[in-house]
């Protein structure tokens, strides 16, 4: 029992001093107890901090445990330390990041094709921010570089693994959007049809006026 207490004490110290998430396996190797015990102890710690309403918590990100400050105090913490500059991600960056996250490994050209625009600049800035990296080269003519997300990406987005992302199908545009896209691209036909509708209107048929 006493030994368990000691182990808890040590795990707390290690998580405290670490500068990256520590996996249960890593912790188990460092202090020579089994992984299940490590997991139990960390759960106990989490619960203790919650119960005692501490100003910090342990969260599981990128496959490991890490200490974070309590979100309620973010405003004060920001007065003290510099926010990571990646907190300001543009729409273009987020969209490119999601393409890479779901389709990795992926080439710049494929990203550009999906976005309909050269994405060189956005990819570069995501690399600079440490969110993606070159993971190799595609085995195709020209051997273009392929990209994937980094551990930092998982950390920053509070994900334990890339599998924790919601399935892409969830983001399928709804039917209204789809039909609006179709309608608009057939706008010429629609215009003709609306003219006809205009005529029908004389018969007392309610017509939806153009948007």
């Amino acid at each position: 029992m006493n030994e368990l207490l000691d182990t808890k004490h040590i795990i707390e110290s290690l998580l405290f001093v670490a500068d990256e998430p520590l996996s249960p396996k890593r912790l188990s190797e460092l202090i020579e107890v089994d992984v299940a015990t490590v997991k139990n102890i960390v759960e106990t710690l989490k619960e203790e901090y919650r119960a005692l309403d501490r100003g910090f918590q342990i969260r599981q990100v990128a496959g490991g445990y890490r200490f974070f400050t309590h979100p309620a105090n973010a405003e004060y913490v920001e007065k003290l330390i510099l926010a990571w500059d990646g907190r300001r991600l543009t729409q273009a960056a987020l969209e490119t990041l999601s393409i890479i996250a779901y389709r990795q490994p992926i080439t710049k050209i494929t990203i550009g094709t999906i976005r309909g625009v050269n994405s060189e600049g956005v990819v570069g800035s995501l690399i600079d921010k440490g969110l993606i990296l070159e993971t190799g080269r595609e085995k195709s003519p020209g051997q273009p570089m392929i990209f994937g997300t980094t551990k930092l990406f998982l950390e920053r987005f509070g994900l334990n693994s890339i599998k924790d992302l919601p399935p892409l199908e969830e983001f399928e545009p709804d039917d209204t959007t789809k039909s609006s896209i179709e309608k608009q691209l057939y706008s010429e036909e629609i215009v003709e049809e609306e003219d006809k509708e205009g005529e029908i209107k004389d018969d007392g048929t309610p017509s939806e006026s153009d948007g």
Partner: protein
């Protein structure tokens, strides 16, 4: 911090198309550039201080609009491939499929944005190692010379510099940004404080003003100049930092 970057900044043709489709219900073959520009100027006015990133994205948007209008709808690479053989109908079908696919990722991007927003409130402990343990860290200065320091610095600069403002949508600037960078760096060395109006008073045309602006953004990004604009649409004050002198014609 009041960074209300809640604007819908879009960058590329697909995004633009979707936006037009959802918001304006316009025939995409007849994009009203004036209207879009006005809308963006409105956005910019609402921002307390001119955010350079937004301003540069605006340039991209404006240029993209012109490009779409002049070049048609399909992305350039596609013209070279078999898309040319498709009928007008098939082209549209293809475009619709791609727009829907793109919309899916756009939605996913928004969800990522929401996720980072909520995770942003957690700050990880990132403090330096306690003094007692400092000696255990590898001595990173072993075998490092001043030349190594310089090489490292140059590498970082290089890494940064090809994030040169992505000008792929401003295809034909006859004035290269590099030569502008050189020119401005030289000017600022002679006279470390300048105003944007002064700097562009002799510009031969709008494209030169744009090139000057992009070059300044680049210098700003490198941290060698500071920019200050007292009022919205007011003149921009440019001031060279001391570090500008350490750059030895870095852009040639």
């Amino acid at each position: 911090m009041s960074y209300t970057v809640k604007l819908e900044i879009f960058e590329g043709p697909f995004d633009l198309l979707l936006n037009l489709i959802s918001k304006h219900k316009l025939d995409i073959y007849d994009i009203p550039i004036g209207e879009i520009t006005d809308q963006y100027l409105d956005y910019l006015e609402k921002i307390d201080e001119l955010d350079l990133e937004i301003a540069s994205e605006f340039l991209l948007v404006a240029a993209t609009l012109l490009e779409i209008k002049s070049a048609g709808l399909l992305p350039r690479e596609e013209k070279l491939s078999d898309v040319e053989d498709l009928s007008a109908f098939e082209k549209r079908e293809l475009l619709i499929a791609r727009l829907i696919e793109y919309k899916k990722f756009k939605n996913a991007g928004q969800s990522l944005g929401a996720r980072i927003e909520s995770h942003n409130k957690f700050y990880e402990r990132n403090a330096a190692v306690e003094p007692e343990f400092q000696d255990l860290l590898p001595d990173f200065l072993i075998g490092i010379s001043t030349e190594d320091l310089r090489d490292i610095f140059e590498k970082i600069q290089k890494r940064q510099s090809l994030r040169l403002i992505d000008s792929s949508h401003i295809a034909t600037i006859p004035i290269s940004i590099e030569s502008k960078l050189e020119e401005i760096t030289e000017l600022l060395r002679l006279e470390p404080r300048q105003s944007f109006r002064e700097m562009t008073i002799a510009a031969t045309g709008r494209d030169e003003v744009v090139a000057t602006f992009l070059a300044l953004l680049e210098l700003y990004k490198k941290g060698v100049i500071s920019l200050n604009q007292a009022t919205t649409f007011g003149d921009i004050e440019i001031e060279a930092e001391e570090s500008l002198d350490l750059l030895k014609d870095p852009f040639i």
